[in-house]
Amino acid sequence: MSTQLVRELPAVRPYAGTRARAISLLGPLTVAAGVIWAIVQPYRLTLLHPHGQGFWWLAIEPPLLVVFAGIVFAVFVARPLVADLEADAAA
């Protein structure tokens, strides 16, 4: 049924699919891994104690590289992929 006041909800809700949920979790899980690593080994983040550190030790922070990888994946890959999965399920 579809009127001006009432319309049917799509059968598949956003993020309802298991695959969409798995995809949308990959980025945050990667970010969480980087954050947990930074908490467990804070000395890996030389930005927290920058005195006397050279350029490379300040530029390359391994836990932040993991966080960065997770954010880039979540924003540029996972988001459009979930949209495609939802479009696929709705079709």
Partner: protein
């Protein structure tokens, strides 16, 4: 101005983490959905090709020995050939499924390069241990894309390949230039640093 070699491993670890996440996502959604946006089909081959290009400066600047240079050079070529073959397949210019053999061969050459250019034993230091571990893991991981040549739709093989690539990135992130491994550090390696 040259970064310590452990940082090069970390940067490549990030690249492998991306590769692993891309392969895992592709395994989860399936090829049809993955290729719904044409640019997505080029992500993994393009990244593999880019990692091959980035291996050239590693070959140029990290010349600890002749075997290092030869291993890194062969590795750069293998990664670029693998990426180029996958790009050709994604574009549709290459049709034969046998081009997919470039991936297992490229990964196996990468594993051999890791093993060949590590001249110390497993427990010499953490970097030596990880070079052996990464080398053998790469050789083992090459079996998944090899099997995928014959069973291209297998979700289990795709997921196993993706997980092995993510495991390799964890190994690269664990690398340190001078650190003990399981309490072992050869006195010949020098004093450890964090």
């Amino acid at each position: 101005m040259q970064p310590p070699s452990e940082m090069v491993h970390w940067l490549f670890g990030m690249g492998l983490l991306w590769l692993g996440l891309l392969k895992l996502a592709e395994a989860i959604v399936g090829r049809e959905v993955w290729e719904r946006r044409p640019w997505r089909a080029y992500l993994w081959p393009g990244l593999a090709f880019g990692l091959g290009i980035l291996m050239w400066p590693v070959m140029t600047f990290f010349t600890n020995s002749a075997i290092h240079m030869v291993a890194h050079g062969a590795w750069a070529q293998a990664l670029m050939a693998m990426g180029a073959a996958e790009l050709g397949l994604a574009k549709g210019k290459l049709k034969s499924r046998w081009w997919r053999l470039a991936t297992p061969i490229g990964i196996a050459v990468s594993g051999a390069a890791f093993l060949v250019h590590e001249q110390n034993g497993w427990f010499f230091a953490r970097s030596a241990f990880l070079h052996h571990l990464v080398g053998w893991t790469l050789l083992g991981a090459a079996l998944f894309p090899l099997a995928l040549v014959f069973r291209p739709r297998s979700i289990v093989l795709k997921a196993a390949f993706a997980v092995s690539v993510i495991a390799l990135s964890v190994m690269l992130f664990s690398d340190r230039d001078l650190a003990p491994v399981f309490g072992h550090l050869s006195p010949l390696a020098g004093p450890p640093h964090r």
